[in-house]
């Protein structure tokens, strides 16, 4: 077992930043090629006329999940060393809602706004200025928000631990959920495009 490579000392902090940059470049290219540099396409997700965001993101989740699971089963990856973002339930729900509102108003999420800016879109530049202002505003307000931001802490919890299911069963259920979601998303797209036209 020798992965995650960083945790096993194959490279240090400096090289990890270079690798992150290269991965980020690749991610940006894939987003742009998928059409996620367009605010219309992204906002259409919320009007249910184009479910590409849902399909692409869920496909990425399934691919990564199956990859990590099978590599771990083969003894290549030590899953216990993979970083997990701690869960703070209520703050993260509120933050998600705020991000969703900003997403549908502005037409971008933070990552896709950088992709769109890279292709020269003015609305993306304005969006990013708004993101920057929001970051500074949050920083200034943080002393007031600090207690709330760390409330309802659940630690680094995973679905298998939470539901007391085996990892393999959770993988299968998430795959089923994804396949059902894809079929449902296609049906929703067709229905709401008909309504629109």
């Amino acid at each position: 077992m020798n992965a995650p490579f960083y945790k096993f000392g194959f490279f240090g902090d400096e090289v990890s930043l270079v690798i992150a940059f290269v991965i980020g470049l690749g991610f940006g290219i894939c987003l742009e090629q998928a059409g996620f540099g367009s605010a219309r396409k992204l906002a259409a997700q919320f009007y249910l006329t184009d479910m590409a965001v849902f399909k692409v993101m869920f496909t990425a989740i399934i691919t990564a999940m199956l990859g990590v699971f099978y590599l771990s089963w083969m003894g290549v990856v030590d899953v216990s060393l993979v970083y997990l973002t701690p869960t703070y339930l209520v703050p993260q729900v509120v933050g998600g809602l705020l991000l969703g509102v900003g997403f549908v108003i502005g037409g971008y999420c933070p990552g896709t706004s950088v992709v769109a800016m890279a292709t020269g879109k003015m609305d993306a530049i304005v969006f990013l200025l708004g993101v920057t202002a929001g970051i500074f505003g949050f920083g200034e307000l943080y002393p007031l928000l600090k207690d709330f931001s760390v409330s309802t802490a659940m630690g680094q919890v995973t679905l298998p631990e939470f539901f007391h299911f085996s990892y393999g069963l959770v993988v299968f259920l998430v795959v089923l959920m994804a396949l059902g979601g894809f079929a449902g998303a296609t049906w929703v797209e067709q229905r709401f495009r008909k309504v629109e036209s």
């Binding site: 771990s72 216990s80 393999g168």
Partner: protein
């Protein structure tokens, strides 16, 4: 079956593949913790050649040079550590070793009261892929005998031996120890006080030690977004 497969679109084919992988995953068990792999021959070679040991004199030199390329881990209990610990050492229990912030390519030196505890911890760490882990020769007892309370050579010692002892005496004094007289037949051979072997206060070396310097260098940005 073949014809039906050809009739499927690419997305549908990928969906079928994902479904099959998910179904097989029900019977799988991912590795969720450290798994030990041991190369017996390599370990035997290391033990025989003594490549996994660091002498107290060597460690004292590293501390005096202010080197920051090693981690010194004290495996003893809190009470023992409170009484005395080698400068630059970090307290870590054996059970916490694998959860401690240690990189597998770091130079790590382990010590306990003697070599026994450190040797067991060494084996655990080698089995988890820590390639540059060593034990302090003789443990704390070796540090006391060689660094803190070195034995002076007898009156018949040659010039080179006396010079070497002079160096060891200065190192001993730096770390708060006292040289011991060589004994023959119950009487001291040279006029040195026989110290009571009471452990000195820990002397923080100038220029920062390996533990604190390396720890501050290792302080990295928080993981995650």
């Amino acid at each position: 079956m073949k014809n039906r497969w050809h009739l499927l679109s690419l997305n549908q084919k990928l969906g079928v593949v994902a479904f099959l992988l998910g179904a097989v995953a029900v019977f799988g068990t991912p590795q969720t913790g450290p798994v030990s792999r041991v190369d017996g021959r390599e370990l035997a070679r290391i033990v025989e050649t003594g490549a996994s040991r660091v002498s107290p004199g060597e460690l004292a030199a590293w501390i005096l040079e202010g080197r920051a390329d090693y981690r010194l881990l004290d495996l003893r209990d809190e009470a023992a550590i409170a009484a005395y610990t080698i400068p630059t050492a970090e307290p870590v229990r054996v059970t916490e070793l694998l959860h401690h912030d240690l990189a597998r390519n770091e130079k790590i030196v382990l010590y306990g009261e003697d070599e026994t505890q450190a040797a067991k911890a060494w084996f655990v760490m080698r089995s988890q892929g820590f390639r540059s882990v060593s034990i302090l020769q003789g443990g704390l007892a070796g540090w006391k005998n060689e660094v803190l309370f070195p034995v002076s050579p007898g009156p018949d010692a040659d010039e080179a031996t006396r010079l070497a002892f002079d160096r060891r005496m200065r190192v001993s004094t730096f770390f708060g120890g006292r040289p011991r007289a060589a004994m023959e037949g119950g009487a001291p051979m040279v006029s040195l006080d026989v110290p009571d072997m009471a452990m000195p206060e820990v002397v923080a070396p100038t220029g920062g030690g390996g533990g604190t310097k390396a720890a501050s260098r290792r302080k990295k940005a928080r993981e995650g977004c």
